[in-house]
Amino acid sequence: MLSKILPEKIAHIVGSKINLKSVNEIRFRADKPIIVAVGGKNYFLSENGLTSSLKDALYSSKIVIEDIIFRASECSIYSVNEQIKKGYIVTENGLRIGIGGNVVEENGQVKTMTNFNSVNIRIPHAIKNCSLSYFPYIVHDNTIENTLVISPPGCGKTTFLRDFVAQLSERNLTYNVLLLDERGELDTELDANFFDKIAFSSKKMGFENGIRSLSPDLIVTDEVGQEEDVDAILYASTCGVKILASTHADNMETFIKKALFQKLIKEKVFKRYVLLSKRNGPGTNEGIYNENFSRLSSSF
């Protein structure tokens, strides 16, 4: 899938000299060395694969970056402008490509992004059973607890959500799951049977339309980060729909202090909080907490 968007030479190196299964990210910055993140550590990309030596590193350029974005948009940047406005593109294969550049604003609204100067290609991985140790705390007595997965970026939140949905399917728990997928990446490599998907919609629209039209038992959504997302979750919780969501925070202390979540914390909407980090590589389990922020298990 990377061969479709990377320059031929780089695609060849990545395809033949690197084990993609262990790669988390590839970063291109204008006139800077190409960085490959493997297991939470950064390396330079060289002719011979990964290296720690800067003198062997291959450098990226603005043209390379523009071409990656062009190819990632299937040669049609106009068709993904709504995503570019939010700073990323998701390819047809579910690769999420973060974009750095100049934001063009008009009347307080982001119109587009130009002068691209960096891209971060995140390689999705399905890590089987990565949610398994938390599963009994979230699903019991045939009910699912509203759960929020918390971690800094790149710690495996999306992978956790994906695996959780796959675990439900594997156990034949025929909940109707709705993937509310703003970035179109939640079902990448997802091996599950009972899910519907609303992609590239705001959470507000997705929750309202999804609940009305698809009658889900569980809504799974990534990266709650705005006031309207919180309102949408509150709305869903009053409709009897269960929620599995994720958000960014360093740790529980930081999360508890976040103004955005005060309403949800006060109303005790989420009954479980899962904390992930990359202390021992992305997806390190740091604990599961209940609605009162008491740790439920010390076995992690």
Partner: protein, 164 residues
């Protein structure tokens, strides 16, 4: 033998005339098709926002035949099979002048590279220039296209009369 030579000369005259006629006709049809493609792209980019590859593949087949293979060349570039240069794009478009080729190449290079608003403006600017090319090719067709056919017919008849 004499009649065979006369017939051959007559046919040669017609072929030469038709070749010139065909050149001007191809140019005329090409620019008409190119403008239609640009208009189609403008509409679709604004409304369906469908991918460039799909838009070009689904472009009207009859009109596409007049594009002298530039659509195929461009699709090959989109599929990463070839480079985007005049050698690859204009393989079958020898009736175009250098200035026209340069401009069309520039047009192709800008496709898919910007957001809806800018892309629409760019296509509109290119279309204006394509219309100028079309106006010139229409005039050339009227002036030289039909004229070369008529002249070749006259020349052929002239040989027939003189040699008989």
């Amino acid at each position: 033998m004499k009649y065979i030579i006369i017939a051959i000369l007559f046919v040669i005259c017609l072929v030469v005339g038709y070749t010139f006629f065909n050149k001007y006709n191809k140019r005329k049809k090409f620019f008409k098709a190119l403008i239609m493609l640009a208009e189609k792209l403008t509409v679709e980019i604004n409304f369906s926002r469908e991918r460039l590859k799909v838009l070009i593949e689904n472009f009207d087949k009859t009109t596409k035949q007049n594009l002298l293979g530039i659509d195929e060349g461009f699709l090959n570039y989109l599929d990463r099979k070839t480079e985007l240069n005049d050698k690859e794009i204009f393989k079958k478009a020898d009736v175009l002048k250098k200035e026209e080729k340069d401009f069309i190449l520039l047009f192709l290079k800008t496709l898919g590279r910007s957001d809806v608003e800018n892309q629409t403006k760019e296509i509109a600017n290119f279309t204006k220039r394509f219309e100028e090319f079309k106006a010139v090719s229409d005039t050339e067709y009227k002036k030289y296209g039909t004229l070369s056919l008529k002249l070749s017919l006259i020349a052929g008849l002239f040989f027939v009369i003189v040699l008989i």
